[in-house]
Amino acid sequence: MFSILQTIWNVFLHMFHRRVTVQYPEEKPYLAPRYRGRIILSRDPDGGERCVACYLCAAVCPVDCIALQATEDSSGRRYPDFFRINFSRCIFCGFCEDACPTYAIQLTPDFEMGEYHRPNLVYEKEDLLINGPGKYPGYNFWRVCGVQIDGKGKGESEREAAPADVHTLLP
């Protein structure tokens, strides 16, 4: 009997507690930098596309919402001909970001992407590409990888030794 009265009193005291509701459109919630929201494609510090169209993101995507086609430019750099993410399927799991070998695909703390028409949720490459390096400011894949492209021969990457001359290794 006493506990019933105490319950009523304790609930009454909640009148003076702070409300936990976040009044969303007026009051934006804090989202951590690593929040998994809208997906973007980042660029190198010097402005080139980071994506090398390796298909790892499309392969790992559990809902198959990423579609792309690899191609190669005249300098020997691979890049996606088109890159399409269907956000009406995306579950924002972040596996694509994990799988990406070049830090090209990244998830951002933005979730306000509602649309009235479902086709508008299909983002093309020009919708995904941003003009910056995203979370990894200094990283440039083509500067550290061993692949030869125009303007950077074998052994000219950062922290890469010159290729061994196999003729000098002969016994």
């Binding site: 009523i8 609930v11 909640h14 409300r19 936990v20 509701t21």
Partner: protein
Amino acid sequence: MMVSPYPIATIFGVLIVALTIAAGLIWLERRLLALWQDRYGPNRVGPFGLMQVMADMIKIFFKEDWIPPFADKTVFVLAPAIIMVTVLMSFAVLPIAPGIVVADLNVGLLFILAMSSLGVYSVVLAGWSSDNKYSLLGALRAAAQMLSYEVFMGLSLMGVVLLAGSFNLVQIIDAQRGLWFVIPQFLGFVLFLIAGVAETRRLPFDLPEAESELVAGYHSEYSGMKFGMFFVGEYLGVTLISALISIFFFGGWLGPILPPIVWFLLKTFFFVCFFILLRASLPRPRFDQLMAWGWKVMLPLAIVNLLVTGAIVLATA
């Protein structure tokens, strides 16, 4: 005989105010529940979310008025009307302020008890005519609960009647000029409060509709405005019981400085809020606990209260 426009104005005034309050209570309840659960509740539509009620009302009026093919149609349609009519009839004898009462009945208290007994029919018939096992279970529970709690609801008020020496609500209020009956009749007040919650089937005692067990109990099959009538009937019942508590135990319109009608509304409002607080804090008892509580605790207490009050009245007379 000429009928002066004054009683007509009172009738329509009470009717419109009662229905408006019942609709407003939906908003009040949602806001207060939210407040006690550290939320906001409806606060988007209009100032403080008040227009939410309007939006919901417009929506419910345009809903399909569907009757299940297996239902007993006549009774099914009639049942929600009964609850509205009985509760609104009880409002007729409520004295709101000196001179503002629709029908100043000499047996006002008995009339209210009779009307609340008739309200059981609404629930039982609704459950029966729905031809649905959950509805029927809800109706059975409602019948048992309301009949049991009515017994000591009446008995708990007899102490007030003994002290006031009248069944007339206006005279009961006048008898409280010196001292509110809540002090000599505190036990009666507590008993009436609990019985009132059970009679309106509000939350600690909402076993007839127990949504976690019986879908929605006796109104499972109702939709649209017919459900709306049950809903409004429930809130009218809450208003009625709150008004009755303030009339029987807290001196109705009596109070200093403020005009009588304001005092009456303030007291009623206080108890409405208390009803909502009960809903926010208490869980539902088991049905056998409910019956045992009613027959083994409340009824003996009500009888003891009546006997002791009667003895005291007799001794001092």
